[in-house]
Symmetry: C2
């Protein structure tokens, strides 16, 4: 951390920044656009070109927005920070920022889960709407602030798949004793259903599943799961991932470091996060269909979770939520905002989006059948 510190522009205001710059007697251009170098460890391996690719895209966009003056270097999972300790490294100031999923930190506080996703929650658009216009982002940043962090969402996967299972799972009874790699609060739900949840970073899933250390693993969806090779060590590919109607990725930024940035660099970072958010979701949506076709062609067997399992999971989920809300006031505050917004979103999406999509997907399925 030997780089030059500069004035806290957001605190001083632009006029004051000008005065401070004059006092420091540097050329004006150096003051308004200082050279800044940051390190950004990711929770994800390089092979995942959509998740880690998002970190690279974000860095490139910040550079473009600042004429190359604000340079962020992404590091893959484990290169400088272990995959599930990115939040800690940002909090400590070991690094200025990181790319991760807040729900990896439910061990510190289950409230973190709302930043990424919770079971039977929002789709990607609803999550965004809650964040930007429903108070979600401010609520999450209240929590992050306790860790000296400011968060910006910067990616999404959309609804995920239910993961890879070595055996078929037909009833809620089949969950009992199942050693299942699953992230976030969903682990607590799986435990309530009698399963044995495991939290493991993406790069370590293949060997765990291969050795039989775990019976099943969920990761993201076709494009990423194929890259991790999960289809080679488990045959049954379940859907939908009822615990991840969306999964939002975040840039977590050390709050002191963020405040030190000139306002235009803060804006560049914020804007690059927004661009990356759209870029990543679009890339998943564009890459998943062909990956799904390849997986099925190579022997993956698609299975839908039975209604019995879905109903049991739904019941267990809201029991867990209510219990957590009863003993954790932070969880309660965010949960109540989330729940009210969810009721509104689901009402509205039942009117316009869902009937539209049901119609076009039915037509499209009928056309696909007619072609065969």
């Amino acid at each position: 951390m030997d780089r030059r510190r500069f004035v806290t522009a957001s605190a001083l205001g632009t006029a004051a920044l000008g005065a401070a710059a004059t006092m420091l007697a540097k050329p004006a251009v150096a003051q308004s656009m200082p050279e800044v170098k940051w390190r950004m460890p990711s929770s994800f391996p390089k092979s995942l070109t959509t998740l880690f690719g998002g970190a690279e895209y974000l860095a490139a966009r910040v550079a473009a927005l600042t004429d190359g003056k604000f340079k962020i270097t992404p590091f893959a999972a484990g290169e400088i920070v272990p995959p599930l300790q990115v939040l800690d490294a940002v909090q400590n100031g070991t690094v200025e920022m990181g790319q991760t999923a807040p729900y990896y930190y439910v061990g510190k506080d289950p409230t973190f889960a709302f930043g990424t996703t919770v079971p039977f929650g929002f789709n990607a658009r609803q999550q965004q709407a809650w964040m930007l216009h429903g108070g979600g982002l401010d609520l999450m940043n209240e929590l992050f602030k306790e860790y000296n962090i400011i968060g910006r969402f910067s990616g999404n996967t959309g609804t995920q798949m239910g993961g890879w299972f070595r055996k078929e799972i037909k009833t809620a009874e089949d969950i009992k004793g199942l050693k299942f790699r699953i992230a976030g609060l969903a682990g607590t739900v799986i435990a309530r259903m009698g399963g044995v949840p495991q939290q493991i970073g993406g790069g370590d899933l293949y060997p765990a599943l291969e050795k039989g250390t775990i019976d099943a693993a969920e990761w993201v969806g076709p494009f990423d799961d194929e890259k991790l090779g999960l289809n080679k060590v488990a045959k049954y590919y379940y859907y939908p991932g009822w615990w991840e109607g969306n999964a939002m990725l975040w840039s977590l930024i050390n709050l002191d470091k963020y405040k030190e940035l000139p306002p235009a660099y803060q804006a560049a970072l914020d804007a690059a996060c927004a661009e990356t958010n759209t870029w990543m979701q679009a890339k998943y949506d564009a890459e998943n269909p062909a990956a799904l076709r390849r997986l099925v062609a190579n022997g993956a067997e698609l299975r839908v979770f039975s209604n019995e399992i879905m109903q049991a999971a739904y019941k267990a989920t809201f029991e867990v939520f209510e219990e957590l809300a009863g003993k954790n006031p932070k969880f309660k505050k965010v949960y109540e905002s989330w729940k009210a917004f969810r009721e509104d979103e689901f009402l509205w999406f039942r009117v316009a989006e869902n009937p539209y999509e049901n119609f076009v997907y039915r037509q499209s399925a009928a056309e696909a059948r007619a072609k065969q």
Copy 2:
């Protein structure tokens, strides 16, 4: 257009730009961050705080990203340019950029419709994915280039409502002779079904419907429709808007003016468009539910389009597409890309997103009923 012209940085590259700047013998800061003032007329009235609000948000973000040096002033529909002539004004260089929906210009070329939406097309996420990772944006910019324009998408409404009807519409027969305000290629589909399509700017819908000049009008969805007061002049509120599974708004930028911008300002404009895109969709999603509740409480009667009407419209739509593709090579090229991408997206969304959403919406509807 009396402001200072500066070197075309994207063509020269950064090193060459430095050399050119030295030759011009101006202080370095003026070269890297020149003062730029642009005008941005919108196709939308000020009252529509989500659409026109998007133009204001975009201008604010560009200012934040450039330390206030790049100033864009939005103008509401009709203030300096008529609502449906924004593209022309940008093409002519009367203004540097504008906010509009490309499908307003299907009279020039029906291919423009793909920029916004076409009947039975993508939802908002699928449209984004096609644009960014499916070749859609490049295809649209090939078309815009013929008009000396470069386009950036910068907003979406999501799936729209089917609009306001003075009488109930139960069968395909009821479309015949219907004077219906409807935008884009959907007008051609309505004409094929025997209706009489009208293209009218948002601000003029209320009087047209009130006087009975038209029998029905579609605009966007609850939040905007309520602001235009359409519920006061027509009672039946139909869904879903099968001609607008999404509707993408655009920033159209005069290509010469865009090329004149320093690279960091081009990046700022691009990034602000991406931020606005998410901001607008999120605002619609957050505002629509309460607006829908108010409209229904004030007497609007929700009606779903019958399957007979949906099927007839679907058939008419693809007949229109095939005919246009047969006689317009530009349309054919974009249509084929769109169609292949649509088949992929619909396949994938049928696996993960749609079963997930159907489950949570069913649960949510059952809970709402149980409360009553």
